[in-house]
Amino acid sequence: MKRIIPITVGVALVATLAVAAEVSPENVAFDEYGAVSESLTGVAGDAAAGLKAMETKSQGNCFACHQISAAADIPFHGSVGPSLDGVASRWDETQLRGIVAGVKNTFPDTVMPSFYKSSGFIRPGDGFTGKAGTEPLPTLLTAQQVEDIVAYLLTLTE
């Protein structure tokens, strides 16, 4: 134990430095309607990477609930949430960032999960193991993945 502790601290320090530019989950500034005006990373989003993160089950898994005509090559789109076709005509970048990062600030009772939130859960688990997890949990999406997904959603103008 004694030998491990300093190493862990070292790793934690390096990690903190590396992500210093990111807005942490508890510091995301939602306005009163749920929009987030500032980028979470300062790095422009990559739409292609965003689609990948949306499709990946262990990340966004957005297609579990949403349908997108432009992504018809991805199999099995769910119908729990509304179609995201034309979503960029309904919401601007700041609103989409707010919806992806912490949707309950926009729709308080929605079943959609909060993708950039790490604590305040009831019976938080350790992933899908069914065992207890310890908060703060790793967020469902990284800050950059949120930005990437927003960039992709902004391409959905019709």
């Binding site: 099995f76 119908s79 079943v111 019976r123 938080p124 688990g125 069914g130």
Partner: protein, 282 residues
Amino acid sequence: MTKTVLKGAITSVAILAGAGMALAEGNLVINGDLELTTEAPAPSHIEGLTTVYSGWVFRDSFTQAMEMDDFDNPGMLFVDAGEDMWNEPAGTSGKACADCHGDASESMAGVRAVYPKWNEAAGEVRTLEMQINACRTENQGAEALKYGKGDIVSLEAYISMQSRGMPMNVAIDGPVADVWAQGKQMYYTRTGQLELSCASCHEENYGNLIRAETLSQGQTNGFPVYRIKDSVLTSAAGRFVGCVRDTKAETYKIDSSDFVALELYVASRGNGLSVEGVSVRN
């Protein structure tokens, strides 16, 4: 809902949940002669639903057909295994279930429909699995069986078959009232990192697709359920473990008093639907 149709389960589901999906037409008739109730007015103690539907209604026509013929229903093999257990002496008593309870078609008729149920002597609510284990440990002198799948569920399936076609009718008041209220509270609690409750999926979104899977109302009248996907017969508690885990939550223990409460409450949501004996789901 203004329609009062008999064969309208499919249409009404689509209307209620707005899913617009194509479900097979028809009612659940087993072996061509036993017609089961898969759609019923919601019991008055359930505020969130006007009509209750068996999970059978939401399955594809292939899966539905498997449950309509006992020769095609893989769950029947477990029923046979359960019958053997019923007649087989076990434990230090050297007695079989049949030695105390006789002919199951008489003594066990109606039992499945009223469980989970208050046990006065023990002063607790018991699921059918708990009652089976209580008989084993207290009366047979045999070891308790593990919940969820395996031998205990085969025995449960055999007992359930004796109530096939009877309406679910669990009691929610009197001595079970507090436990029922606890189960209701659990049903609406949004757990895990995905912050989903049972109601998020099974009350607000039944009939909708979650990826490739059509959400049902999560009723328990069909249990034990043979799941084609993993070729096992599961009890309700076994299913609950998976559903809670899928919210990225710490599940409750399969033999916990929490799940007893949840099982009682969920069973009461299906009062009026037929006991299916042993059902098939994908």
